[in-house]
Every structure is written in structure tokens, then in C-alpha cells.
């Protein structure tokens, strides 16, 4: 029985580890400035936890096989433990866990405590059941006001976010259902939700933040690779949660300017 159990525990452990190490399924390729940091911290955590996982599970399997009761087993050591060992592994674990944590905090801090770089591209992201809208403030650099009373999700576009078209600052605001971003520019995001909580998640950009009704959350990030990336809502928001999907197009600065100009032209 001890042998069978060791075999099963070892098999489970090695198969699980194989798929991690072979990266059969892994983080999608990162496409933002923070990705390298996040992935590095992930890899470090992964290596440390992987070693502990292997040691603990293989050790467990070995112990149950090695110390199965046999007629000729030597008497057990009558021991209630070993204080020195307890202290050693407590201190080691504490240093390991807390040290790991402190190392990873830098990226988190830089994204949240530092303001966006000067000249960052402002985009407002609005989540509602079950769509994302993106608003660009236009040449004046100012968002027009919005009003809950004007919101009409069924109409889509400007009406969905409740843009107050009487406001002069709103005249040049562009509202779209697809997000366009210039590559290698810092993006200054304002995140809002009109009905329930949503979460703006772009796996490839290593970006996630809940959009909470009543809050306007500011975040910033920098896409670094031209391409199309999927947005998946990551906070349960109702029956259409699974299809609350969107696209981010990261394009060159010229393409971005052209695209924005075309939207402005459409609007006039």
C-alpha cells in the first residue's frame, strides 16, 4: 500500500510539474512595458514554489513508502518534536515568503503611485452590461461631461456613455467600441462602470483593473508591441459576462493619428 501510494503521489506530482515546466499552457506573450517585470516575478515565484512543491510531494511519497509498518520495523523514536528545527524552518519560510513579496511590489507601486508620464494618451474606458466603450477627449484634451440621465446603452456610442453633447468640451470627444492605442506611448486610463462592477482585463498587456460604479479609477500602462489584443471582462457582471469582449489595437503613432483624425472627421 505504501508503494502504491508513493507511486500515485509521485506520478501526480511529476505530471503536474511537466506541464508547468514544458509551458504547454503559459502566460500569453507580454506586450506592455510592465510585462517583463511581471513575468520575471512570476517565474521567480514559480521556481521557488516549484522546488517546494516537488520537495514536499516527493518527500511525502518517499516517507509513506519508507516508513510503512513492517514486522521488523525498529521501534519508533518517541519524540515530541524538535524546537530548533521548528525555529529554523519558521524563519526560513518567513524570509522566503516576505522577501518574495517585497521584490514584487515595485511594479505594483510604479503603476499605481506614480502618475502617468507627461504627454500620456488619455483614454476613458466605460464598462456596461455587456460592452466596453472607449472615449478619446479629442484635440482639446478635455473630456466633455456625461450624465446618467442621457445614458442609452441600446443606442451605443456616445449615447451609451451619456455624453452631454451640449458641452463644448464634448464636441470633439470620440467614443468607439474598439480601443486603438499608439505603441510605446504611456496610456492614461480612466476606468468607469455605469451599472455593475466589470473588470478590464487584457492578458497580453498584463493589465487588469475592476471598473466600479461610482468610482473613476486612474491607471496607466505602456503597450510596446504592435498587434491586436483581446479584452475579457474579468468580474461577473450578469448573464452576458462571458461575451463581454473587446479588442485593443496597438498601432504605430502615425496609424493612431490617422485613425483618430478619421473618427473626428466622421463626427463633424
Amino acid at each position: 500500500m505504501g508503494l502504491a501510494l508513493m507511486f500515485v503521489i509521485w506520478l501526480i506530482t511529476l505530471v503536474s510539474t511537466y506541464f508547468f515546466v514544458a509551458k504547454t499552457w503559459w502566460l500569453p506573450a507580454g506586450a506592455s512595458a510592465a510585462a517583463a517585470w511581471i513575468d520575471g516575478q512570476f517565474a521567480l515565484t514559480f521556481i521557488i514554489m516549484g522546488i517546494v512543491f516537488l520537495a514536499a510531494q516527493l518527500g511525502l511519497g518517499y516517507i509513506v513508502w519508507r516508513y510503512s509498518e513492517k514486522p521488523d520495523s525498529p521501534p519508533v523514536s518517541y519524540s515530541h518534536g524538535n524546537t530548533k528545527m521548528e525555529v529554523v524552518w519558521t524563519v526560513l519560510t518567513a524570509i522566503l515568503f516576505i522577501g518574495l513579496n517585497l521584490m514584487g511590489s515595485r511594479v505594483w507601486a510604479s503603476q499605481r503611485f506614480d502618475p502617468a508620464e507627461a504627454g500620456a494618451v488619455p483614454v476613458e474606458v466605460t464598462g456596461m452590461q455587456f460592452a466596453w466603450y472607449f472615449r478619446y477627449p479629442g484635440p482639446d484634451g478635455k473630456y466633455g461631461t456625461t450624465s446618467p440621465k442621457l445614458m442609452d446603452p441600446s443606442a451605443g456610442g456616445e449615447a451609451a456613455v451619456g455624453l452631454n453633447t451640449a458641452d463644448p468640451a464634448a464636441k470633439d470627444d470620440v467614443v468607439t467600441g474598439t480601443m486603438y492605442l499608439p505603441v510605446n506611448r504611456e496610456i492614461d486610463i480612466s476606468l468607469r462602470a455605469v451599472d455593475v462592477i466589470h473588470s478590464f482585463f487584457v492578458p497580453s498587456l498584463r493589465f487588469k483593473q475592476d471598473a466600479v460604479p461610482g468610482l473613476n479609477i486612474h491607471m496607466h500602462f505602456k503597450p510596446t508591441v504592435i498587434g491586436e489584443y483581446e479584452i475579457a471582462c474579468a468580474e461577473l457582471c450578469g448573464l452576458g459576462h462571458y461575451k463581454m469582449h473587446g479588442m485593443v489595437h496597438v498601432v504605430s503613432q502615425e496609424d493612431f493619428d490617422k485613425w483618430l483624425a478619421a473618427r473626428e472627421a466622421e463626427k463633424q
Partner: protein, 576 residues
Amino acid sequence: MATPATIHSHAPQGFIRKYIFSLDHKVIGIQYFFLALTAVFVGMFLSLLMRIHMIWPNAALPLVGEIKPETYLTLLTMHGTIMVFFVLTTAPQGGFGNYFLPIQIGAPDMAFPVLNMLSFWTTFVGFVVIIAAFFVTGGAPLHGWTGYPPLSAVQASGPGEGLGADLWITSIAIFCLASLMGALNFITTTLDLRAKGMTLMRMPLTVWSWFITAILGLLAFGVLLSAGILLLLDRNIGTSFYVPLIVMNGQVMQHKGGSPLLWQHLFWFFGHPEVYIAILPGMGVASQILSTFSRKPIFGYKAMVYAMLSIGFFGFMVWGHHMFMSGMSPYSAFAFSILTMCIGVPSAIKTFNWLGTMWKGHIRFQSPMLYAIGFVSLFVSGGLSGPFLAQPVLDIQLHDTYFVVGHFHLIMGVAAIFGIFAATQYWFPKMFGRMMNETWARIHFFITLAGTYAIFMPMHYLGMAGQTRRYSQFTEVAYQSKLIPLQTFMTYAAIITIAAQFIFLVNLFWSMFKGPKASDNPWEATTLEWTTTTPPPHDNFGGRTPVVHHGPYEYGVPGAPKDYVMQNDPATIATH
């Protein structure tokens, strides 16, 4: 050790007083156990429907018909709620705790038998209320077991958010009341009714785990109860505790100024300790069984006690790690993150000590031991994904993905369930007077161990690849549809594992009536429940009052006539 049962206190006569509205903690424990058993099969059936729907979203199922996306969300909401409250909180604490805490400390019953009965029947009402949510107009709610407002607070937010959601939160509130009663009883009993010689540091680790769990329950359920009442008020009389000004389907709702994050703080202030409420009794049982079946004292008894105490203590200071992506102040995320890493330390101590207990032992592979070893393996696997999620920077990628689902299912779900399996196999002889079938228990153990790993380990891969949780199907997002083959594998694993649970169920009922008669101490264990008859008499010790002379895990004592010394053994043998 059999002592003739001379019953001093009057055992109740008549079926109703004896088995229905019983004041006997043993009967109440069995009632809790069967309530949890019913609930776990309901919850498991819901998960089966979920797994099938994810892979074949348009399949017409017998009896159930086609599952719509909103129905999928009601399934996951009810699965989570039923499992967390009516299984993981009910079976280990209400069931085994109720039955064995008084016996293990040498008490004739709980401190407040009437309160104990009330606590069970209140839990029962809570269960009836939550099941009723399936049958009302609009059906059960779809807001997930965490019930984040505004989704859970506004009727217009989706189907099931009408009466179904009211019943859901009412059921939870009722459950909170019942748990508060139970917690008071457990704490008082442990502090006041210990037999002579049963010092705190001679209590079995199971008693420590139930005691600490009760303290956690007392502090946590009160908060959830209040939070739930506020949610009911928001839903029904137009208050705005949790709901700011929102627009739902183009309509401006009649709410203003509330904070959705307030609910998250209150909910997780309960919700994180709840994780430990579910797992601590499993830790206690695993410690008890690993020592008994390794024929060795538990390694580091005091360290185990302090570890559980610090897990309980830190457990109340880490709730914010569920909210790193919520818009909460990023400064507090630092604090919550460091404290969460701290809680990993006592968990690691426990694992070291379990391995240390088995090291150089004489391991006997009877079924309770198998499940206890499974518990350790699952606890390690589920625990080690914790330090990923505790780091806000990694949570950016992993929060609300399947990585989280895999993490908490392994540790809070399956590890805790293995604790329940271990406890069932271990105490079944004492509770029902018969032994369970070992062969079928082994078959069930191996299928369930491999099966749960096959279901929950791939969730970590899915989460890394960015698969978001609570999606009723994966066809709408291109990168997620590529992961469907892995989901399909998990569904097949789930079907096999769920089927295997009927082995356990049949073994349980068959053994209850047909199993071989159990002796008073079939496992050669040392704690007080094994000093009394099987099953124990109404007052637990047949008029005797046990006197305790030894610690709980005296195995392999040099110079003792047998390889174990029972806690009430008056012989003067040098034990620590």
C-alpha cells in the same frame, strides 16, 4: 476497555425527542453530518451540470433541458454557497465537532444543549430556504457566491435577482445566526467542561481546531450577518449602502451614494476567516490521524497549537487580498499582501510537522490514514499557489482567472473534503458501531485523489493562459476558445470523480447496517472517545467522569506495555 453503560442522566424516550429534536450532542452531530451529506450531493450535482454545460453549451440534458448562460451562473452561485456554508462549515464543525468535542474533553454534553439543538434546526431552515430559491419565479440568483453589489443589490441586474436573491441572502443570514449559536456553545464547552487533568495543552489537536474555528466563527459570522441585512435593505426598501448612482438598461436607478467596495470589505472580512473555518478542523483531524496511524507522537504539538492560533489571528487581517483589483487603495494592498505572506508561515510549519510525524513512524495504511495523507498532499498543492495570488503584481494576471478557482478548490474545497472523508472513516466505528469496508474505501480514495488532481490542477494552467472564471462558455473570446480541449479533459475527469463518490455513499450506508461490529478502540488510539463504549452511552462515559493523565498523542512510549498510552491511563508512565 468496555465499561458497562450505567446511565445516570436520563436518556430521552420517544422517537421525536430522541432523534428529531434531540438535545444529545451526538445525535445533533449526526444530524449535521447528514445535512451536510445531502448538501454535498446537491452541490456536486450542480457542479456536474456546470462542467457539462461548459463543454456542450447547447446540449439538451435529460430532466434539466438546455442550460442557458444565466442558468449556468445560477448553478455556480448555488454550488458555491451550498458548498461553503452547508458542507465545508457544517460537516467538520457542526458534524464531527459536535459529536466529538465534548467526548474528547471528557464532558457529558455541550454546555448548552438546547442552544445546540436550536443551532442545528436553524441551519436546517437555512438550507430549506436556499433550496427554495431554485423554485421561485426567476429562479436562483446569478451573482456568484460572493454576491458583489450592485449586481446582487438591484433586481433589474439580471434573472434570478428578484425573490431568488432575497432567499439567497436570507438563507445566509439564517446560517450566520445558527453558526453564532454553535460558536458560543463550542467556546463555552471547551473552556468550562474539560475533565479533570485535561489542561489546554493536553487537548487533542482536533479540539484545538474546533475551538479556534468557533472563535473565528463568532467574530466572522456576525459581520456577514450585518452585511447581509444591509444588502436586504438595499434590495427591498431602497437604502443605498452598497449602491451608488447607477444606470441599468438605460434607467437611472433610485440609489445614490453607496459604495460597492463596502460590501467587499465586509464580505471578505467574513470570507477569509471562512476559509480557515473550513480547513482548520481538517488540519486537526489530519494531525490526529497522522499521529495515530504512524504510531508516533505528533511532531511539535505546541508548534501546531501556536500555528493554528496564528492562522486564526492573521486570518482576520488578510481579507483585502481578495480586493487587489477592486479599486481599493493601493497602499492597503501592501499591508494585506505582507500579512497574507505571513499566514503562509504557520501553514508551512504545519506541513513540516505532519511530515515530521510520519518520519520514522510505523505507518498503517488503514483508510483514515489514506485520506489524511491525501489531505496533506492537497494542502501542499493548494497552499503553494497562495504565494502567487498574495502578490498584487501577479494578481494583475491571475485575479478572477481559473488559477484562483484551482487554488481555492484544492485547498478549501478538496483538502477540506479529504479531511471530512478522513474523519468519517476514522470516527464511523464510534458513531455507528460498525466498521466501513476497507477495500471500497481504498478504491474510492485512489480514484478521488487522482480525479481531483485531474480536475483542479489544469485550472492553474488555464488561469496562467488568462482564462477568466464564471464564463458560461468559452466560444466568444478567441484565445479562450483555444483552451477548450483542456476544459473537456477536466469535464471527463469530473464525471469519473463524481461517479466514484457513490462508492463512498454506498459504503457509508451499507456499513451502517451490514459492516462488521466495531470494538471500542479499533484504531488503538489514545484520546478519550476511544475509552468509552461503541457507540457511547447518552452521557458519553456511563456515569464515570474521566480523569486525564497524559497528553493526547502518546504512541511508542518507551516502557509502556502497549505501543500507546491512553489519555486516562492512570499508570505512572513517564510521558511528556
